[in-house]
Symmetry: D2
Subunit: 502 residues, 4 copies
């Protein structure tokens, strides 16, 4: 029996949202997603977005499959009903560990990031605590609204992406000082029945595959920037919202035939342009309480940086598999590279396990949600920003030059009537494995390490330098000096030396 | 409220063993500890051993002090009495996290390793599960004996070192094939009332400060080596046992006056020579059940390698303090080195937090004890074997050349009537800090990084290469290849390639 | 005055090949280069190849420009005429250092690899020594032929790519044992006037921009594989040769308009399919002397791995510039990241300077050419295979999330009549720098670190594991044991222990 | 034939100073060296200093031995006579490479640092250029004096330690502002026939084994500190000079019998207390020309940091030998650890080869001396400050727990009549290797990695942070931004962003 107690549900499976229902919902939405200057009419079939939709649909597909149902579903603390796990409140360390497990599993299934299953989930849990605090301290009524919204999300099995990062504009000025206020999302108008919001959120994952978007403030704010202290949930196709998907390495391969992009899953990141979008009152969870914006960031990063270790671990697992497979298609035993494979596994388990350590040392907010230990969570972020680079390097080292550079004959060349046959002959290296398999294996490793599958783990959820700043703040230097001083038998104080003026 | 629920005890504090009682017990023992070819008459006063005794006495000294009582004491699962924590069974993840916390605290208080508070504790918890299994599967009655012994240890507050590593002899031969069987501890004779044991355990920590020694098998054994599959507890001064303390870097400074060894705490490692030592039946917990020796190693290393992250973290904390203090005595703000201090903290939190992750992912044995997740525990060992070296390097880099090489005028020179005064003047670098403080600070950093305080974390509890072997065994390569294969749309199998014969 | 003595030429500059002549020659060639299943009619204008041609044309363009003429031209040892440096014999350490300098400069100018200026050059210098040896020991007449070819290449200023790596086929079998002999380039027929050769060389750099290709054996060979011991030079458009350019990350962006590929330079790697290509006698420099194939590899890798440190240093310099520029377009002082920039520079200078150390410790072959020290050269390879990954990571860390993932709005989106203007507003971060500049800067960093500009430095010229094997062979373990033994006052021998049979 | 042309001398060997003459000279000196508060009467026999004297005597012992004569002797540029190499001017890159080779060889022979053969040598070469500049620019006559002194040193084969580092005092004040001016060496009085100097140089290597000490300014100085801009050579036993040797890890073992310090060589570092020492005019090479003090530091560090890579490489070679030997005495094939041994060799060759790269890219001063390239030299320093720590870690990892902690039974215990025999039996691990050999091997690895043999390479000759500062200054950021900008097709300038006021 594990520390993590699987809440296996044993009935009423039919209540969960089906994959078909999920796809149908996306199809029905107003087409407001764009790429390459064109509007995407149906995100579920357009080659620019269908892979990320396919990725996000996996939990619906596997919700009732043994080995996966514990991972993708759980019992609601609010209703006692079985729900998709990514809609659940996380009230214990075990719940948060289950979050990590879900993320690692999603990478196993998709090879990359499914932000719509993760950021909105985290956002709503963060706001569970913060709305509780605001209500208690400020007399607001956000918590109840949020509860209603969550119960709705649970019932409908919503895929909810989350958006913190603003376009920001001039980094040397505060949001309210920007020439163009729209560089940061803000309250433009307060109405009886809700808010009018405008501005831009940037680099948001999984929007094309989401039903809704959970918006959070992007930073700590002062009084003068209180209009930017905004948290709410909006439908992805809200009137006034234009979504522009960014382009990524090798993304146009997804529009081609053949196996140069061998995967059927994918990731997207988008810029969200809000132009006077109306948000009704029941969907608003912070509207000007700037003193709480910093707390949102603190809780968000603590939980996010604990669990992101599972993301890079999951992709690292796939890289182990891809590297071993590549070695074999190259005609070499994968065991030739066992030390490198062990190092990759060490990297994977480090970010996974340290994240779990951060969770285990976390604490429960009075409102019921669990928040991970910030010092350990931010330490994990430092590793998340470095170890995956080593893992990728090892994947490329094992795979060989074609993986390192992504240089390999194209699908079109391998199918050329003139020389395709000959080329296929030339690229076979293991007589028991077909040339196509080798090509697919090479392209997978490329996709994982230098292609469209590389997720944004270093900067996603904030930079490692930001994490180090928090680590510094949390290191009790004077306490440690005290230990050293007592051990050395030093009686006098050894205070900090004043810095000389330059 | 933390994940770890402090079991604060609120009464009957007087029941705990006092420091004085501990010291008196050690004094009363048969003098069988030696160093430099001489017998040590009283380990509590002899300069070769008094520092490690002082170290081990800290928990008795602080058991009733607020901030420490939760760390050093707990409630017995067996009796409901308040006991020293290092005598307790660990039945939950929280108990094992408390073990980590105790270790980190002990390093804060002593700067180095106190093996007598840790290895015997771990050994007895390991045997709690293994004796349970043996009894159930083999019809033996070890578990009850162990329970009685533990209840006794709890009542008396015993300091128990633990011994696994045998002298081993010729590494290319099994224990039973050795020219000299004594290179491995073994059952020499089975008697009605107990066993006669002989042989040698090597490099055992904290023996001089211990009341008893918990002996475990040093390896997995086959049928032919069943006499080596032996677990029992013996008094440190058992008849027939000769303890020879090894010498360590700069150890004779401990015999000098002055502050060239500035600390009053310390560490020892000993070779134990057993020459027909009698062990009565009630102290025997394994006697020939070789099939279980491997399980002992598995459980032992899983828990040990989880918690040892706290040891190196604790020493790393002291190194942060020592480095900051050194910078200041050098006349520089310690904040000059903030990036290096943050890196040290990252290292500390990594091994601490990853160990806690291993604990959190552990599981409870049917007998009640908690065993950490082996994959994460062994991953932690890899970091424990590397990160502290970087931490030491950074401590030396911040401290300067005198720390790096340990080169600094000796106490005797600083006190020289001829030139001592002048020398003291010359070594002062911060006008507000005395020369003696700078000397003590330099010596502390030396002691921590290149002196007698360096603990055996890389090889203690087994080598990192051994850990990597276990990581390799626990990496599901074929499962990972499966993920990769499915993602790449590869239909055919990609089996391992056979290695060519050399 | 530097160690490297610039051989500045002061006259007759008009003799050198012009860029126009170079382009015209390429245009005149038989169109035998293909990509995406199509034949490229004119490599100088086709978007798939024009960037690499542009890259390779830089030395012609700058040959007479101060600050570059010393780098790109030199005086022929054979004729005393001024020639392009990449056609020269390298007879001194200074010549080889000039090779390194040329490579670093080429990266500054093109951002990536120009294999046609480097591999053929190295190949011909390697063969200068090996043909000398063969002639002297075997009575062949290769050396004179090579001299004639080189004089011709010097006069014409030829761009010569070099090809070692064969397609190889089944790695567990020798070339002659392959089911399809064409997996390795070989002599198919020996004729009076030359050879007929067939087979496949894989992953060859810069072919599309080359006048000729210098072919070398891909490995050491035994007697049975003597037909594979083959060195010769062929025109790039030789009858029977089909060139298939491989596809690389984000390569189709080069076919688009706009600035999503912001650079006008580029790299290619190709598979070369030889189908009964005739090579006249005067172009043949090895034809069956398999005993010398290993020597070719030894000399080639020694020089190549010394100088490749300059390649990754040069790209690293550009990454420093790209990172600093990105920081500024992000609105931050680049000095914020000075520690990271210093680390990048440390990496650059390490591979550059260690390569130069290998050159300085090299030796002159009796034939006159300089070969670098293999131990230092292979040590450099180990760093070349690792440090650039750290440099890229730092470039991405400084640049931010858009660099890390390459996620940024596309050119088409930034130009959208509907929302382009708004998007451009949103991506401006430094009020003094235009949005387009920020977009170009982001795309450059992407191109360098996760796009089409990433060169094949880890596996190019052989794997780092191969380098480590040579380092192992060149480490005099017994000599070092001798030092240790004498220092420790050990009188007896300490011979290697025999490995136990598994 | 190597790049480095050995200047093998073939005659008049008897002219060189003999080892006996060297020892006799040391014996004849005024006893002004102290340790542990006592004066050392004869440095050649006192156990505190005899090992370093033994180390420094090696070149005299081996000057005429084949394989060593090229390393330890050369032909004087000044007189054409054969001289000890460490007294020679270095006028070519080859001369400086020979310096590196000498250092690596000295580590092979002694296992540690012989500062008296290296720092004074470097100092005199630095002053060769600086005195030339001063004379030319200031009309002084230092250069001729130095030439005379060097010719004398060459003739007598002097061992000359070098001293830069001052005791410094309060780091926040300049030398002239110190409460106690003696914290920095300075001119106290200018007399007709010379100078009276006072003050303290700290942490100076090899003084006890030196004939003379070459004193250099410890820093760049302004006009107000011109009395500190001082360069001269003094006999080690000058009147008024008190030498206090610092204590090092495990140094008192050198006073014991047995093999707990198994080596007969050693290192020392001393504090030098100058109390009104008279220096005659002909020995003075700078006396107040503060504008040149910075140049001294620049030249000194460039050459020193190039060659110090050879020191750590040489000790690393010995660690490879020690680790391989330890593995064998542990009963394991050293080839078990081949990957670790290769990594150690990679580290050794990196600092050695990069230093040689710095030399090869150096330049000749008008005065004739060769100064290494500062950017590469300081880059090397960064590696010298880090890689040896990894090498030591690997040495400890291979050697096992007894090496890691230095814990092993003492000589006295192994010789105990009571249990010594038994203990010797227990520590034998390879039946073909004696217990004493294993003990000696373990103690050697301890001595190298955590004992008295650890040299001061990180801070010796300045800190790595200082090196990074110089790397930063030498990185042409704007030039690199220019490359990036042009490649990205950016037309506008991208200037540095001004830092916001805090």
């Amino acid at each position: 029996m594990s520390f993590w107690i699987g809440q296996v549900w044993r009935g009423r499976m039919s209540m969960l949202r089906s994959k078909q229902d999920y796809l149908d919902s996306l199809k029905r939405m107003r087409p407001n997603v764009h790429k390459f200057g064109k509007r995407i009419e149906d995100v579920t079939t357009d080659p620019n977005t269908r892979r990320t939709v396919e990725s996000h649909s996996k939990p619906f597909e596997l919700a009732d499959t043994e080995g996966y149902s514990d991972i993708f579903t759980t019992i609601s603390y609010l209703t006692g009903e079985r729900i998709m796990r990514f809609n659940s409140l996380m009230e214990t360390g075990e719940d948060l560990i289950a979050n990590s497990r879900l993320k690692r599993t999603m990478y196993h299934l998709t090879g990359t990031c499914t932000g719509g299953l993760c950021v909105g989930w985290n956002a709503m849990n963060v706001m569970w605590g913060v709305t509780y605090d605001m209500d208690r301290e400020k007399g607001t009524d956000y918590h109840g609204r949020l509860e209603s919204w969550i119960i709705g999300a649970e019932k409908r099995g919503l895929v909810v992406s989350g958006a913190l990062t603003d376009a920001k504009g001039d980094r040397s000025r505060k949001p309210s000082q920007q020439k163009n206020r729209d560089t940061n999302l803000h309250i433009r108008e307060r109405r009886e029945d809700g808010l009018i919001i405008s501005g831009c959120k940037a680099m948001i994952c999984g929007v094309a595959a989401s039903d809704e978007i959970f918006l959070l403030p992007g930073s700590d704010y002062g009084e003068e920037d209180k209009d930017f202290a905004l948290a709410c949930a909006v439908p992805r196709d809200a009137e006034g919202l234009t979504v522009v998907e960014t382009r990524r390495p090798s993304d146009t391969r997804e529009l081609e035939n053949g196996f140069d992009t061998p995967v059927e899953t994918g990731i997207t990141q988008a810029h969200l342009l809000f132009d006077e979008v109306f948000v009704p009152t029941e969907r608003i969870f912070m509207a000007g309480e700037h003193q709480y914006a910093g707390r949102v960031i603190d809780y968000f990063t603590a939980n996010y940086r604990s669990c992101i270790g599972a993301c890079v671990a999951g992709q690292g697992d796939v890289m182990i598999g891809a590297a071993a497979m590549m070695a074999r298609t190259n005609g070499l035993p994968s065991s030739t590279f066992r030390d490198k494979l062990v190092q990759m596994e060490v990297n994977n388990e480090t970010t996974y396990g340290l994240g779990i350590g951060a969770i285990a040392m976390g604490k429960r907010h009075t409102a019921g949600t669990w928040y991970a230990d910030p010092l350990l969570a931010h330490t994990n972020k430092v590793h998340v920003a470095t170890l995956p680079y080593e893992t990728k390097r090892l994947c490329q080292e094992i795979g060989g030059g074609m993986v390192e550079t992504g240089c390999f004959p194209s699908y079109e060349d391998l199918k050329s009537p003139e020389y395709g046959e000959k080329l296929l002959d030339m690229i076979q290296a293991n007589p028991g494995i077909s040339s196509e398999t080798r090509a697919r294996a090479a392209r997978l490793s490329e996709w994982l390490t230098i292609g469209a599958g590389v997720p944004g783990c270093m900067h996603g959820g904030g930079s490692p330098d930001g994490a180090k700043l928090i680590i510094r703040t949390n290191t009790p230097i004077e306490e440690y000096v005290g230990y050293a001083r007592r051990l050395a038998g030093i009686k006098e104080e050894v205070p900090e030396v004043e810095r000389k003026k330059a």
